[in-house]
């Protein structure tokens, strides 16, 4: 019976993993492309849902409400970007400041309540966890979110190939060189943060619809889950040489795997309350492995290796 219960939980885990995979793509843009750890996402992951649900409760369509959520997320990214570049506050601290401020803002958005629910029967939702099984495939959240993921990756692949996108990549890679080549690195960083947080808020909006409520604590630890997805994707698919789109896709798969593993762990008897600790440990271990490998298990370079001058 346990096995069947577990199998029953898998589609839900996949759907959830896909939605959070979108968030992980946002994290990837700041953490990997811009080389900047942005903690704003913990706040934005609540903001998007709050804006989306409140807008829908006011009678706006699901699509428009999602767009508004993206806009709100972008504003949050803009705030962090300005704190970091114009005000000269270190990136991590800028993110923490915005995130903290967002907590109050999120409560304001939700009318002072810690959560706001939205019924799947009264409102036209795009995704819901009720539709994971026994619905036509086009209503299944895995299908719907899957389409969003493909579209998002296509747009980002195109964008980071444009002049503007290339200048953001260059900024993350080598800021000195970028300035010497006439790139305004402040603008690049702000733009990257805006895009990233817009994507996170989009994911947040979808997740609120999926769950049927927005929660002021929905984003707590989001950055760690995002990092976990990025790292798992890198560990499993890193050996395959792929282009930028493939890397983004591997992040999404990383997220799905993360949620599948969580299901397994829950079935093994861990309490849901322990999950955050587990996430933290997983990320810490995977971040530490490359460092420890290099420090204690470095293979000595053979003498007479290739000389390249």
């Amino acid at each position: 019976m346990e096995i069947i219960k577990f199998l029953n939980a898998l589609p839900g885990a996949c759907a959830q993993g896909l939605i959070w995979g979108i968030m992980a793509i946002g994290v990837y843009i700041t953490y990997k492309v811009l080389d900047l750890a942005d903690l704003t996402v913990d706040g934005t992951m609540s903001t998007g849902g709050a804006v989306c649900v409140i807008m829908m409760l006011q009678g706006y369509s699901a699509g428009f409400s999602l767009l508004a959520a993206v806009g709100a997320g972008m504003l949050a990214g803009l705030a962090t970007g300005i704190l970091h570049t114009v005000m000269g506050i270190p990136a991590i601290l800028s993110g923490i400041l915005t995130q903290l401020g967002l907590y109050s803002i999120n409560l304001r958005i939700m009318g002072g309540r810690a959560n706001q629910s939205i019924g799947v029967d009264q409102y036209e939702l795009l995704v819901s966890l009720r539709w994971v099984k026994d619905v036509p495939f086009y209503k299944n959240p895995i299908f719907v979110v899957g389409i969003f993921v493909v579209l998002l990756i296509a747009v980002l692949y195109w964008f980071f190939g444009t002049e503007l996108g290339c200048s953001i990549r260059a900024t993350g890679c080598n800021a000195n060189m970028s300035r010497a080549q006439g790139i305004n690195t402040d603008i690049s960083k702000i733009l990257g943060l805006v895009i990233s947080n817009g994507i996170v808020a989009f994911s947040s909006g979808l997740f609120a619809q999926y769950q049927g409520f927005a929660d002021v604590n929905a984003g707590r630890g989001a950055i760690v889950i995002g990092l976990a997805a990025v790292i798992i994707g890198q560990v499993i698919f890193g050996k395959i040489r792929g282009n930028f789109a493939f890397k983004l896709l591997s992040v999404v798969f990383g997220s799905i795997i993360y949620y599948l593993v969580l299901q397994v762990v829950l079935k093994l008897g861990l309490e849901p309350n322990d999950l955050k600790l587990l996430s933290a440990v997983v990320v810490a271990v995977f971040l530490a492995i490359p460092y420890l490998k290099g420090k204690y298990f470095a293979k000595p370079v053979k003498r007479g290796g290739a000389t390249n001058a």
Partner: protein, 264 residues
């Protein structure tokens, strides 16, 4: 082409490490001048280049490039007029990006970057031709990540990037100092060819006095944040390393030239 008027720069103001790196420095370069810059450690050579490039603002004085006052322009805006190669081979290129992507970034220096394609097919062919000039086989590795290249290859690539879009002024900050002698000679040779071909106005810092004499049409020696010796034309051609050492001793009040200068 370049006009530096009475610039001052002091670092770490108000601390025990306070150092005035540029003291009332003035310098003028004519179009097509290839000026080599020598001087001991802390003479202000790199500081002068950074002041021109706009890495930080100067405390006093003005800087003009082609009669445009750039004193208040931020670094990325001045980049439109400048080509720069740094001492550290890691500084001038983006390691995680392809060779051709690095070149594409350089080609767009000084232009407004928006949603046009970051690199076009026509460009690729142009880069292939230009890379052949370097004679390092890089034209076969256009899609390799720059991080895979050696220091010398990266410096040569940076040089190409700095001159891909003809700059009003080329700034070379000891760009061969981190390379082994053979590679250094190769990069210097490429520098000479490109500067000669495009008639680039150039400021080249070097620790090697022989190189300073052998290259360019003018040589300046810096000491304690100012130019103490300025020689060009026929007089420069006749210079010997011994003359420069004597000059240096004279300027520093008999203080012996530092090891790096002697070894050079």
């Amino acid at each position: 082409m370049l006009r530096i008027e009475h610039i001052w720069k002091t670092f770490n103001v108000g601390t025990v490490n306070e150092k005035t790196a540029l003291k009332d420095l003035s310098l003028e370069l004519k179009e097509g001048d290839f000026v080599t810059v020598i001087g001991g450690n802390g003479a202000g050579k790199s500081t002068m280049l950074n002041a021109v490039a706009g890495v930080w603002p100067v405390d006093e004085g003005k800087i003009f490039i082609d009669d445009i006052d750039v004193t208040r322009l931020p670094e990325h805006k001045r980049a439109a007029y400048l080509g720069r190669v740094f001492q550290d081979p890691m500084t001038g290129t983006a390691a995680n990006m392809q060779i051709q992507e690095n070149l594409a970034l350089a080609l767009r220096r000084g232009t407004f970057r928006f949603l046009k394609s970051g690199i076009t097919r026509a460009e690729r062919e142009e880069y292939q031709e230009k890379l052949k000039v370097l004679d390092l086989g890089l034209e076969e590795r256009m899609t390799s990540k720059v991080g895979l290249l050696s220091g010398g290859q990266r410096q040569a690539l940076t040089l190409l990037m700095a001159t891909l879009k003809k700059p009003k002024l080329l700034l070379l900050d000891e760009h061969t100092a981190a390379l082994d002698p053979k590679t250094a000679a190769k990069v210097l040779d490429a520098t000479e060819r490109i500067v000669g071909r495009d008639h680039l106005t150039t400021l080249m810092i070097t620790h090697n006095m022989k190189d300073a004499i052998a290259h360019g049409n003018r040589l300046i020696m810096m000491y304690e944040g100012n130019v103490i010796y300025d020689v060009s034309g026929e007089e420069k051609k006749k210079l010997k390393v011994a003359d420069l050492l004597a000059k240096f001793e004279q300027a520093s009040g008999g203080e012996f030239a530092n090891d790096r200068m002697i070894l050079a």
